[in-house]
Symmetry: C2
């Protein structure tokens, strides 16, 4: 059994940040669960464009307020506590936080922890990471 | 993109209960994500014995207070907001809630929604469900 505490990991090297978000990697590929699990905090007033071409991701809002726009359909959905979105079609999207958002995220295949967002908002597929 | 709201689903047939817990299935196997995602609420003062012999499960505490005992090692860990446990060895365990626990749970392989806890605390493997 693995037991980890977000409040300890947020100040460790399992917390990955850019200027406007921090993602604490509670579970990564090498934990052997077949998915990764992250608690991601998006700064109030920030906007993010992502497209996980090689991953499925689900995102559950624990706290905060914002919206998500599906760039394929143009539809926008409110994000508030209890709302989950799942990118079952690797949907390109824009995520906006009006108030700081805290989100519980699951990735399949699991993130290894070495990915960076590429210019198109994606993470590289696992086989490219292994090659690099 | 799938968008669902816990606060709507908790009063629908996606909410599965027994006397002392309710699990709202935000994502199930047929959503095609490769994992299932549940928000599970455990009644204050309840105790649960589970052993997911055929699944990996991670559980993140959103709110509440309790503890988990690993029945293989005898170790007990406090559960409070921010703590996650991951049953990477299909660990048999006892989960106790002192205050109502709200937990974000990921299962791999994904739960189909038709499972029931068997006498040993497990869910049946997917192939047995398909045969039944």
């Amino acid at each position: 059994m693995i037991v980890r505490d977000f409040n300890e990991l947020k100040n460790s090297d399992r917390a990955v940040s850019d200027a406007k978000w921090t993602s604490v990697r509670m579970l990564l590929a090498n934990d052997g669960m077949g998915f990764s699990f992250h608690i991601t905090t998006l700064q109030a007033g920030s906007e993010h464009q992502f497209e996980y071409k090689h991953h499925f991701e689900s995102v559950y809002c624990i706290s905060g307020k914002g919206s998500i726009t599906d760039r394929n359909t143009g539809e926008t959905h409110d994000i508030k506590p209890g709302v989950m979105y799942a990118l079952d079609k690797h949907d390109p999207h824009i995520l906006r936080s009006e108030e700081e958002l805290v989100m519980a995220c699951c990735f399949n295949p699991p993130v290894t922890g070495t990915e960076v967002h590429r210019a198109d908002g994606s993470y590289a597929p696992v086989d490219e990471l292994e090659e690099s």
